[in-house]
C-alpha cells in the first residue's frame, strides 16, 4: 500500500530488454542508485520479448515493464488494463542498414524516395507482428507502397539481424540502434535511414514518438501507488543526470558495462556514436498522441479490429509531452 | 507313506479309455470331498492354447480331462514325452495359468501365483543376473522378511549342500549350466514351503550329482512333511524318488497311467541300482511309455 514506500527497500521488479540500449535508463537507475534513493529495491528482469513481459505483468511477478504502445494497445483490446506511467523514447528506435549501397541508388535522397529501393528486398524484423515489423510496414505505407512490397523476415530478436545481414540472409537490417551502429562500424553495411535525424513520414514519426515507455496495469497502480510515484520521480532524475554533460564519463562507464561492444567492432567509435545519438532518443515524457497515432495505424493495417478506448491508458501523474 | 487314493484308479481308468473328444459331465459331490484333503488336486482339467498360423489359427489341446490328486506328504513324479503338458500342469498348480476347463485346488484353495507354502522350481534357472549366487539363494528369504544374518547363514549352508561353496560371490554369467541349476535348487529349498512343484530340477546335472541332490531332496521332504510334484525325463530318477509315477501322453496331453512305487523308505538311491524290484518297475513303466 501507499505506506509501504516508507520501507527502506520495497521490492520492485522492472522488466527490461536484455542488453538493448532501450533499457539504458533502467541500467543507470540501478547502477547510480536512483531507485534506492527513492526507497525502491529494483530488480531488473531481463526478457527478450514484450508479450512475455506482458504475461509476467499480468501475473504480478513484475511491477512495471518497458513496452511499446502497439503491444499495449493489443493487450488493451484483449481486456488487459495497460497504463503508461513514464516515457522512455521520443523517436522511433530503429535504423535501417543495408549490406550493399550499390543496390540502393536512392540512399542519399532520404525518405520516402529510398523506400523504392527496398521494394522486393528482404528486410529483417524481430518477429512478425512485433513493433519493429509494424514500423517497417508504416514506412512502406507512408511512401505510398503496399505493405507487402518487401519481404519481412523474422530473425528472432535484436542483434540477430546483424549476423543475418552479414551472411546475406537479408538485404536490409531494421534494428534497434545499437546493433545497427555495430553493424555499420564493423563494416557490415551502411545506414539507409535513421528516423531520429530525418523525418520518416507523418505516420511513422507519430507512431514512433513514444516507441518505448514504462507500462504497468491499473490494478498494480492502485495497489502500490506510492512506489510508482517514486519510480516516476527516479526516472526524471535519471533523465536529468543522463543529459547533463558533466556525467558523460560516468555514463560511458555504464554503457561499457551494460552495452558491451560486439566482437570485431571498434569500441571507441561505437561508444562515441552511442553517446552522441543517445540524447536524441531518450525522454521521460508520455506522448498521448503517439498512442492514438499507433492505434490509427494499427486500425488501418488491420492489426486492430476496432478502436480502443485510450483515454484511461495514461496515468494522471505521468509527465506529459507538451505539444511541439 | 503316501496315502493311496482314488487318484490311481481314475488315472488307470483314463488310460484305458481312448482319449475321446467328448468326456464326463461335472464331478460328483463325492469327488469334491475327496479333493478337500489333498495337497493338490486336478479334476477334469482341460487347457487349450491358440496357435496363430498364416491362415487363421488352430487350437493345441495341451491338457485333456486331467484328473490327479496329490496327497499331503506324497511324492509324485510325472513323466511323459516332450510337449505332453507337464509344465502346463505345474503352471496351473502354481496359479500361473488359469485352466480353461475343470477345477484345480492347492491346499483346498484355487491356485494363485505367490501363494504361501508353494515353491515352484522352473525348468530354466531364472537367476537374477545382477545378484551373486548367494544373494540369489537368499532372494526368497529376503522377500519373506527373514533377517539378513539368518538368511545369509541359511543360504550359505544350502549352497554348500548343493556343492557350491566357494562360488558364493559368482554372478550367473560365471557359473556353468549345472551350477546355475544348483543355485536355483538351493533357492527353492531355502523356503520351507510345504508344497514343492519341480520342473526337471536335475535336468542339467550329471548322474552323481543327481543322486546326491535327490537324497538331499528326499531328506528335506521327509523332515518337513512336504508334498512334491516332480516333473522329470529320467525314469530312473522318477522311480527312485517317488511314491507314484504318473505317465502322461501327448496329443492331447492326458494322463495315461498312474503307477504306485512300493519301494521301501528311506531309500538309498545308490543301492537301488542293485534292487530287482526297481528294475522291474522300470521295465514295466518303460513298456507303458513305449506304447505311445
Amino acid at each position: 500500500g501507499p505506506t509501504s514506500s516508507a520501507d527502506a527497500s520495497e521490492k520492485f521488479n522492472v522488466a527490461v530488454y536484455a542488453g538493448n540500449v532501450v533499457s539504458l535508463y533502467a541500467y543507470i537507475g540501478v547502477s547510480e542508485g536512483f531507485y534506492k534513493n527513492e526507497g525502491l529495491d529494483v530488480t531488473l528482469v531481463e526478457t527478450t520479448a514484450g508479450p512475455q513481459a506482458t504475461a509476467a505483468l499480468s501475473s504480478g511477478s513484475i511491477d512495471v515493464m518497458l513496452n511499446s504502445p502497439d503491444n499495449a494497445l493489443n493487450a488493451k483490446q484483449q481486456g488487459f488494463d495497460s497504463i503508461v506511467i513514464a516515457g522512455n523514447l521520443k523517436k522511433p528506435l530503429f535504423q535501417l542498414v543495408v549490406k550493399d549501397k550499390a543496390d540502393f541508388p536512392h540512399i542519399s535522397d532520404g525518405y520516402p524516395a529510398v523506400m523504392q529501393d527496398v521494394v522486393g528486398k528482404k528486410v529483417s524484423t524481430y518477429v512478425l507482428g512485433s513493433s519493429i515489423d509494424r514500423l517497417g510496414k508504416l514506412l512502406l505505407n507512408g511512401a505510398g507502397l503496399p505493405t507487402d512490397s518487401a519481404t519481412f523476415v523474422p530473425v528472432g530478436g535484436p542483434g540477430q539481424g546483424a549476423t543475418a545481414l552479414d551472411a546475406g540472409q537479408i538485404d536490409v537490417l531494421m534494428d534497434a540502434f545499437n546493433p545497427a551502429i555495430a553493424a555499420e562500424i564493423a563494416g557490415k553495411g551502411s545506414v539507409l535511414l535513421d528516423c531520429s535525424i530525418a523525418s520518416c513520414g507523418k505516420a511513422a514519426d507519430a507512431a514512433g514518438a513514444m516507441s518505448q515507455a514504462y507500462w504497468t496495469t491499473q490494478k498494480a497502480l492502485d495497489k502500490k501507488t506510492a512506489d510508482f510515484r517514486a519510480f516516476v520521480t527516479a526516472q526524471g532524475k535519471i533523465h536529468a543526470w543522463a543529459t547533463d554533460p558533466a556525467n558523460s564519463k560516468a555514463l560511458l562507464a555504464i554503457m561499457q558495462k551494460y552495452l558491451p561492444v560486439p566482437a570485431g567492432v571498434d569500441p571507441s567509435g561505437f561508444y562515441s556514436e552511442l553517446q552522441e545519438l543517445m540524447p536524441r532518443y531518450f525522454s521521460v515524457e508520455v506522448n498521448k498522441d503517439a498512442i492514438n497515432a499507433n492505434m490509427e495505424a494499427m486500425l488501418e493495417m488491420g492489426d486492430l479490429k476496432s478502436p480502443v478506448e485510450t483515454s484511461g491508458m495514461v496515468w494522471s501523474e505521468a509527465r506529459l509531452t507538451t505539444a511541439p | 507313506m503316501p496315502v493311496k487314493s482314488g487318484g490311481i484308479r481314475s488315472g488307470l481308468e483314463q488310460a484305458q479309455t481312448p482319449a475321446g473328444r467328448t468326456q464326463r459331465l461335472p464331478l460328483s459331490g463325492a469327488c469334491k470331498q475327496q479333493g478337500s484333503g489333498a495337497a493338490i488336486s486336478f479334476s477334469h482339467v482341460g487347457q487349450y492354447f491358440l496357435l496363430r498360423e498364416k491362415s487363421g489359427a488352430r487350437a493345441i489341446e495341451a491338457l485333456h480331462d486331467v484328473n490327479l490328486e496329490i496327497q499331503k506328504h506324497e511324492f509324485v513324479a510325472i513323466v511323459g514325452p516332450s510337449g505332453c503338458g507337464k509344465t502346463t500342469l505345474l503352471n496351473i498348480a502354481a496359479g500361473l495359468v488359469q485352466q480353461q476347463f475343470g477345477e484345480a485346488r492347492v491346499n483346498g484353495a484355487v491356485p494363485r501365483a505367490g501363494q504361501k507354502n508353494v515353491a515352484y522350481m522352473l525348468a530354466r534357472d531364472a537367476l537374477l543376473p545382477w545378484r551373486t549366487a548367494i544373494r540369489n539363494v537368499e532372494y526368497g528369504l529376503e522377500l519373506n522378511g527373514v533377517a539378513k544374518k539368518e538368511r545369509r547363514h541359511r543360504a550359505g549352508e544350502l549352497l554348500a549342500a548343493v556343492g557350491l561353496s566357494g562360488y558364493e560371490n559368482a554372478y550367473r554369467s560365471q557359473l556353468s549350466h549345472g551350477m546355475r541349476q544348483r543355485v536355483a535348487l538351493a533357492r527353492t529349498f531355502a523356503l520351507d514351503s510345504s508344497i514343492l512343484l519341480m520342473d526337471e530340477p536335475f535336468g542339467a546335472l550329471d548322474s552323481h550329482l543327481k543322486i546326491q541332490l535327490g537324497e538331499l531332496l528326499l531328506s528335506l521332504w521327509e523332515q518337513n512333511k512336504r508334498s512334491v510334484m516332480f516333473v522329470t525325463h529320467d525314469l530312473h530318477e522318477a522311480i527312485a524318488l517317488a511314491d507314484r509315477v504318473i505317465v502322461m501322453r501327448p496329443k492331447p496331453g492326458h494322463i495315461a497311467a498312474d503307477i504306485p512305487i512300493p519301494l521301501p523308505r528311506p531309500r538309498n538311491l545308490n543301492s537301488l541300482q542293485v534292487n530287482s524290484e526297481y528294475h522291474e518297475l522300470y521295465q514295466h513303466i518303460w513298456s507303458v511309455m513305449g506304447n505311445v
Binding site: Q78, F80, T151, Q160 | G46, Y48, F101
Partner: protein
C-alpha cells in the same frame, strides 16, 4: 468356484478356436471403445473445467483464453489455405529432420556399439554438444543455413539425433549373449549380425526413442520457426503471441498436439506390427 467351471471339456477344438478369435476381436473392440470413451471423458472434462474457470473469472482469458475462443479461431482458420501451407511447412521440416536424424542416430549408435574405446572417446564430446541449448544456436543456424526450411531441419536434426543415438545405444548394447554366440557361430557377417539380430533386438528401445525424437523434432522446428522464419506454425505462434492473441496461440498448439499425436499413433501401429511376436 461355481459348478459351471466343472463343465465337460470342450467338445470341438475348431469351435473353440472360432469362439476364442471372436472373443478376442470383441475384446479388442470393447477395449478400444472403453479407452476412447475414457479419453473423451478426460478431455471433455478438462475443456469443461477450463471454460468454467474462465467464465467464473478464476482464470484470466487474457492469459489462458478459453475453449470457446479457441474453437472460434480454429473454425475460422482451419479452412484457409495459409493455415495449411504453414502446417505443411512445419510437418515437412520435421519429417526431413527426423528421418535424417533417425538414420544417422541408429548408424552412429551402431558404430559406437562396435567399439567401447571409440565410444569412450566420443561419448563426452557428444554429450558436450548435446548439452548446449540448441535453441540458443537457432540464430546461428539461421545465419549458416538460411531462413528457410534448412535451418529448421538442422535444428530438428540436432535434437533428434542425440535422442535416437541414446535410445538406440541402450538397445544395441543389450543383446542376449547366447543369441549373440549362436548368430556369430552360424556364420553371420557383420551386416547380417546387425540386421538379423542386433537391430530386431533393439527395436523396442529404438521405437521408443524414435517416438520421443519425433516429438522433439516438432518442438525444435516450431521453436526454430518462432525464432526466425517466414512460414510454419511456429511463426504463427510467434506472431499471435506477439499480438497477444492467446486464443490463436492455443488453437495452433492444439493443432500441433493433434498432428503429433497422430504421427505418434501411426508410429505405434508400425511398431506393434513389428513387435507382434511379443
Amino acid at each position: 468356484m461355481s459348478e459351471n467351471t466343472m463343465a465337460p471339456v470342450a467338445i470341438d477344438p475348431d469351435a473353440w478356436v472360432r469362439s476364442q478369435l471372436r472373443a478376442a476381436s470383441a475384446q479388442r473392440l470393447r477395449h478400444g471403445l472403453s479407452v476412447w470413451v475414457l479419453r473423451l471423458v478426460v478431455i471433455g472434462g478438462a475443456l469443461f473445467l477450463w471454460q468454467s474457470l474462465v467464465n467464473a473469472r478464476v482464470l484470466d482469458p487474457f492469459v489462458v483464453s478459453s475453449p470457446q475462443a479457441v474453437g472460434a479461431f480454429l473454425l475460422e482458420n482451419l479452412g484457409t489455405g495459409k493455415f495449411w501451407t504453414d502446417v505443411q511447412a512445419t510437418v515437412l521440416a520435421t519429417l526431413i529432420g527426423f528421418v535424417l536424424a533417425s538414420i544417422a542416430g541408429v548408424v552412429a549408435a551402431f558404430v559406437l556399439a562396435q567399439s567401447k574405446h571409440l565410444h569412450d572417446v566420443v561419448d563426452p564430446i557428444l554429450t558436450f554438444f548435446n548439452s548446449m541449448p540448441r535453441v540458443a544456436f537457432a540464430p546461428l543456424f539461421v545465419v549458416w543455413f538460411g531462413l528457410g526450411i534448412t535451418s529448421k531441419i538442422v535444428l530438428a536434426f540436432s535434437l533428434c539425433f542425440f535422442i535416437v543415438l541414446s535410445g538406440a545405444l541402450v538397445g544395441l548394447t543389450q543383446v542376449d549373449s547366447d543369441l549373440n554366440t549362436i548368430t556369430r557361430q552360424l556364420g553371420a557377417n557383420r551386416r547380417q549380425h546387425f540386421v538379423k539380430l542386433v537391430l530386431p533386438n533393439a527395436l523396442p528401445s529404438i521405437a521408443a526413442s524414435l517416438r520421443l525424437a519425433l516429438i522433439y523434432g516438432f518442438l525444435a522446428v516450431v521453436v526454430g520457426e518462432m525464432i526466425g522464419s517466414s512460414s510454419g506454425l511456429g511463426q504463427q505462434i510467434a506472431y499471435y503471441s506477439g499480438v497477444l492473441r492467446m486464443d490463436a496461440v492455443f488453437g495452433i498448439l492444439l493443432v500441433l498436439g493433434v498432428l503429433v499425436s497422430a504421427a505418434v499413433a501411426l508410429m505405434r501401429a508400425v511398431e506393434n506390427y513389428f513387435l507382434r511376436w511379443q
